[in-house]
Symmetry: C2
Amino acid sequence: MRPTVHDIAAEAGVSLATVDRVLNNRPGVRGVTRDKVERAIATLGYVRDVAAANLAKSRSYPLVFVLPEGDNTFMRGLAAEVEAARARSAVERTAITVLSVPAFDAAALAAALEKARTLGPAGVAVVAIDAPEVVAAVDRLREDGIAVVTLVSDLPGSSRDHFAGVDNIAAGRTAGSLMGRFLGGREGPVAIVAGSMLVRDHRDRLEGFRAAMAESAPGRRLLPVVEGHDDPAEVEQLVSKLVVDHADLAGIYSLGAGNRGLITALEKAGRQTDVCAIAHELTPHSRRALSSGTLDALLNQDAGHEVRSAIRVLKARADGLAVIGAQERIRIEIFLKDNLPVEPA
Amino acid sequence: MRPTVHDIAAEAGVSLATVDRVLNNRPGVRGVTRDKVERAIATLGYVRDVAAANLAKSRSYPLVFVLPEGDNTFMRGLAAEVEAARARSAVERTAITVLSVPAFDAAALAAALEKARTLGPAGVAVVAIDAPEVVAAVDRLREDGIAVVTLVSDLPGSSRDHFAGVDNIAAGRTAGSLMGRFLGGREGPVAIVAGSMLVRDHRDRLEGFRAAMAESAPGRRLLPVVEGHDDPAEVEQLVSKLVVDHADLAGIYSLGAGNRGLITALEKAGRQTDVCAIAHELTPHSRRALSSGTLDALLNQDAGHEVRSAIRVLKARADGLAVIGAQERIRIEIFLKDNLPVEPA
DNA sequence: AGATTCTTGATTTACGTACATCAAAAAATC
DNA sequence: GATTTTTTGATGTACGTAAATCAAGAATCT
């Protein structure tokens, strides 16, 4: 059997109360005694039974998720995953509040974070926008001892505890490398469609894509980036114009959301096959397009993994515990039509 | 606050003892009373506090892992992950025993499973070999009410509860599809190196690879499969012979382990660049080879994920609980040199 | 009706930890 | 050496559930 507080007390030759004082670093213990207890803990290899401790504390974790509004499937999926986590609240001892804010609006996001702060949660997860007022808002949360995890899009320069998302520079590089190899004999330029340069993840993907393209397909012409604000309608219009303006378009990289528009535009123009298209996020639309060949490759981040990871990290930080690094690293998933998971995503 | 057994007792107008009888379906409750209690459970939305229940039961999960011996890095990594899980035993209330058996030896595996049965564990995880005696051994475990999860290599036709591993047909297809696209202008045949056709995962990968190659590179000649038994030395010898015998070799797909040998052979022969090489499992060697360009792509299954998933599923099955399907699906990871995770794997 | 079985209630102990209180002992201060 | 302060011990309650015991009540059978 694993040792309990009683065993430590016996081993150290002190009372249960003293062990408790040491374990929960309460005042009123001499240094010598504290050492004795800590030595006993070490020799017996005691680890606190977290379940019992939480039970005794009747611990619960009030958390706030700050998510962007918007019409794209990825963010709706993310919201659905948060909702699913909320349904597990009873089991996981969490109490999740969701705040929705307009997309790509730094001021609104900062205000929402301020509101989250007044709710006094144990932790906050936020899809960040890279702006000074957002950094300030996050830092204020941290000063109040509230754990903060950035979700999907990071906020470097802030004091957030953790980033639950993929390495977007690597994602962009991967897209570029695949594009370079997949283009094969095709001549002509490659277009890039972004959501907004305001968010860090899109800027990072762009940087990575350009770097990898320069290596794997040197000399290939890249058209200027266009911004579709993750909105299907806007993206469709932009891509329609691109394929008309560039009859010899060889490839297109969509690094943001709103790919319904991309797919529709390519199919309406009958350019599914001769344009090599690489996009992000597995949705019902992009899945279908990958199967049919309109899309050639898809990079994905699993929203469910990100949400669950964010919650694990927030709970751990709230308790001042370490996390299993490997388990919390979110992988970039690459899908071809050959490795699509069976059920709808 | 979430409702407790006391609340149910009050709501149903029965005693605590009766609620307990219903919850743990103990005998001695009339149908009418049982219904009353179940209605109270439903209306209050009661969910049993698993932590408290485990505490009260002082539940622990004795588990047995049956792993193959052998010199390849993947299996050693798998063993290390099991060891890591064992270190977390105290927290996770598991007691893990590891049994090692000679690789590719069905009789030895069946004997080990029989031995595992005598240990009377709550669950068994096994890297399966596709043979009748192994199926029989697994079925015997299940008859004893022991949960069984196959790990890495599945055992269809047996009554195992779950397979903690990747879809290997899809993995093979993915390799074939990438190979087809990556070959580009290269002429010449493609070689296939397997570990052993005795294990299901290798057979599945081969099937998928052939199918996808037929689609993405029709007419391309595939050399007969050679078996390296996942042994680096044996694989090196086989591949060295292949590159000598086939001066125009365009590609090579290694669907098993022992890739140290593959890499060494290609590099010794100076054929790193002109042969497109795709292999499985991220190890220090394959990582280096991918960075340097000796390998063009790498498919990976995360051993850590598989072990943790196996444990979660075994615990859940032992308690007769359902599992979150999406969380237990092991993804096929595709690595190019651009999306290698930073730390050594 | 009386004996027998089945169903229910009441109560207690246990799991491992957290936390509070009060008394006793030890150490530090004057 | 007496007093104050600090440190330690002893003890009890709580968290939510499991599991056992014993007694009392209700239903069934003869």
